[in-house]
Amino acid sequence: MDKQLNGAQIVLQSLQDHGVEHIFGYPGGAVLPIYDEIFQQESIEHILVRHEQGATHAAEGYARSTGKCGVVLVTSGPGATNAVTGLTDALMDSIPMVCITGQVPTHLIGGDAFQEADTVGITRPCTKHNYLVKDVNDLARIMHEAFQVATTGRPGPVVVDIPKDIQFALGPYMKPKAVKHKSYQPQIKGDMAAIKQAVALIANAKKPVFYTGGGIINSGPQASQLLREFVKLTGFPITSTLMGLGSYPSADKQWLGMLGMHGTYEANLAMHDCDVMINIGARFDDRITGTLDKFSPNSKKIHVDIDPSSINKNVMVDVAIVGDCAHVLEDMLRVYKSDAVTPDKKALASWWSEIEGWRDRKCLAYKKDEKAIKPQYAVERLYELTKGPDTFITTEVGQHQMWAAQYYRFEDPNRWMTSGGLGTMGYGIPAAVGVQVAHPKSLVIDIAGEASVQMTMQELSTAVQYRLPIKIFILNNEYMGMVRQWQELLHGGRYSSSYSEALPDFVKLAEAYGATGIRAHTPGELDDAIKRMVDTPGPVIFDCVVTKDENCYPMIPSGAAHNEMLLADSEGLDIEVSDAGKALV
């Protein structure tokens, strides 16, 4: 006979058995039995956030920086609905997360009880899977399944909705076993025939490019190692999506920088002109491809993805390999080595000289300013003064995010946390909280904008409470900068509602929270101020006052192709964006 526990104890026991050390949450009526159990144990630390959205982003930051599953605990009704943004964010960026939601007792479900919401109904499209536990006898199995589904295959968020009476009811507990799920069996190993086909294409490539994404990060550090080995062995150029930054070291000469809407000139032109594209763990997102009918028109495309539904979704490919990046890379490498493939050195040399020509365009160059701080300069200085293997960067969403991606540089995976797919303003502070919880001694910086940062500013209070010394580095240009940039380019400079009116004094705001506020106005004082920020033991808001009208370049305008980029020095050119392009996002 299995040990009988109550539902709340089953939840805690299963969390412990899955190695959970931290959970992010917010109590409420429908989860009080679970909070009571948390109170009576020591092995799991609960981090009390200030808003449930914060709990989800903190769990994302925690997961992204450790490779472990993030765990969230919220109450019914508004607790669950507030978590929806973070769940959707985790779904879009494939972040493993288990979110436990309280629910009104089973006999009240459907009666519009206080703080009742149809949580499984609401979260069905924004989770990888979800469960409503109607019988305590199912609870242990469902908890174990939730972790399995969240962390395997293409990772994602899983909601377990537990009515309050189930949390009190007695039921059996059994340990998680490696049982094969009846229907959920993600494919890990790639098909060998397809892998051989891919290697054959790679062997004959004259103008190849690696295009890698978040799948490499999700697959674990081994995938990054194998990728590095493969890229070195082939001598091919490599670019990555926003989500994949850090999987290949940016200091390496084969690294072309990020690709896509605000990617580098050399990366995007290499994508456009290549003859063999090797996509590993990326999903041909619209930020990457630009207009689809002009996307890399002359290449053979190889696509490695663990999610079969990613194959041929946006771009039809020539060789599709469904499997985990690390497993597929390992097999690819083995075939490459056993076939004794020697890349076409002459063709590669001429491809590289073409790429060097694009590099010479220096697409990330910008006009320096003696008096005011340029946002690009701010990120460059921040990078120079904080770089290192023990530095973790989170961001909000907008121009500052793109500048962070362009000017901060990453040598290792799991150091870069950003909201890519959903583009959630307000991600950065709570994500930084989650990263700092996982890495208490590390330097964790949220590169932020003054608009985004106000969406979840209250999580600074969480950071103060738990002595998490996160640094919030605000590029303050007094605009929702990316909105302003699009209004400038596409809407005749009519800046409708994009000015950040009535901003708080961020230094005083920091002080009000019990944190430290630092402000820099001029390039001359920037370095010292950044050093002061790093040396401050507690949380810091750094109000970096930057030029207001800077645009983020390079840029592929909507509806354009990779070879139709706007560069900083082409500012003032007539930008023709088609009506169809204007309708895109």
Binding site: V120, G121, R124, P125, K128, H129, L132, K134, V149, R154, H181, K182, S183, Y184, D307, P308, S309, I311, N312, K313, M316
Partner: protein
């Protein structure tokens, strides 16, 4: 028009765990991603294993149909997705209950037509019939078309159920 853009009609058989919300997952996938459902039938087919079979008739271009199958396949409670239109020969049947009202020549003609279509009369009053008809979708469409001028009042259709021909099971 290239083959890639040609709209096709496919019948998909989906074997799922018969658990709460599974139909909502399938339907939500179609509505959320903008796919079409022409008809959908669902019932438990294995009470030991608690499995249900969903038959969906959908329309779309070949790449969209492939997407639909891949998206269905990654739902956690989905065991198998079979495209009966391309993977095998299959038979497809639908049942409809059709109410026709009228008197005189129209009523006689409706009854005569129902015999020609092998429909059964399952309810009759002096001025109405309810016909039960089974067949593929085209046959039922044709019968309904014929009933229109003869006093068609109401139609209730099950949507298509389908199964592969031969000894193999999905």
């Amino acid at each position: 028009m290239s083959a890639e853009n040609q709209i096709e009609r496919h019948t998909l058989s989906i074997l799922v765990d018969n658990e709460a919300g599974v139909l909502a997952r399938v339907i939500g996938l179609f509505s959320g991603r903008g796919y079409n459902i022409d008809s959908l039938t669902v019932a438990e087919v294995d009470d030991q294993e608690h499995m249900s079979r969903i038959t969906i008739v959908t329309v779309g271009t070949p790449p969209i149909i492939e997407q639909i199958k891949a998206q269905l396949g990654r739902l956690v409670p989905v065991h198998r997705v079979v495209d009966l239109t391309v993977e095998c020969e299959s038979v497809e049947r639908e049942l409809a209950l059709i109410k026709v009202t009228g008197k005189g020549d129209a009523r006689v003609e409706a009854l005569r037509m129902s015999e020609a279509f092998r429909a059964r009369v399952v309810d009759a009053t002096p001025d109405s019939f309810v016909f039960e008809i089974t067949g593929n979708t085209e046959k039922i469409d044709a019968f309904i078309g014929l009933m229109k001028p003869l006093g068609l009042r109401e139609v209730s259709r099950t949507g298509a159920a389908a199964i592969s021909r031969g000894p193999e099971a999905m």
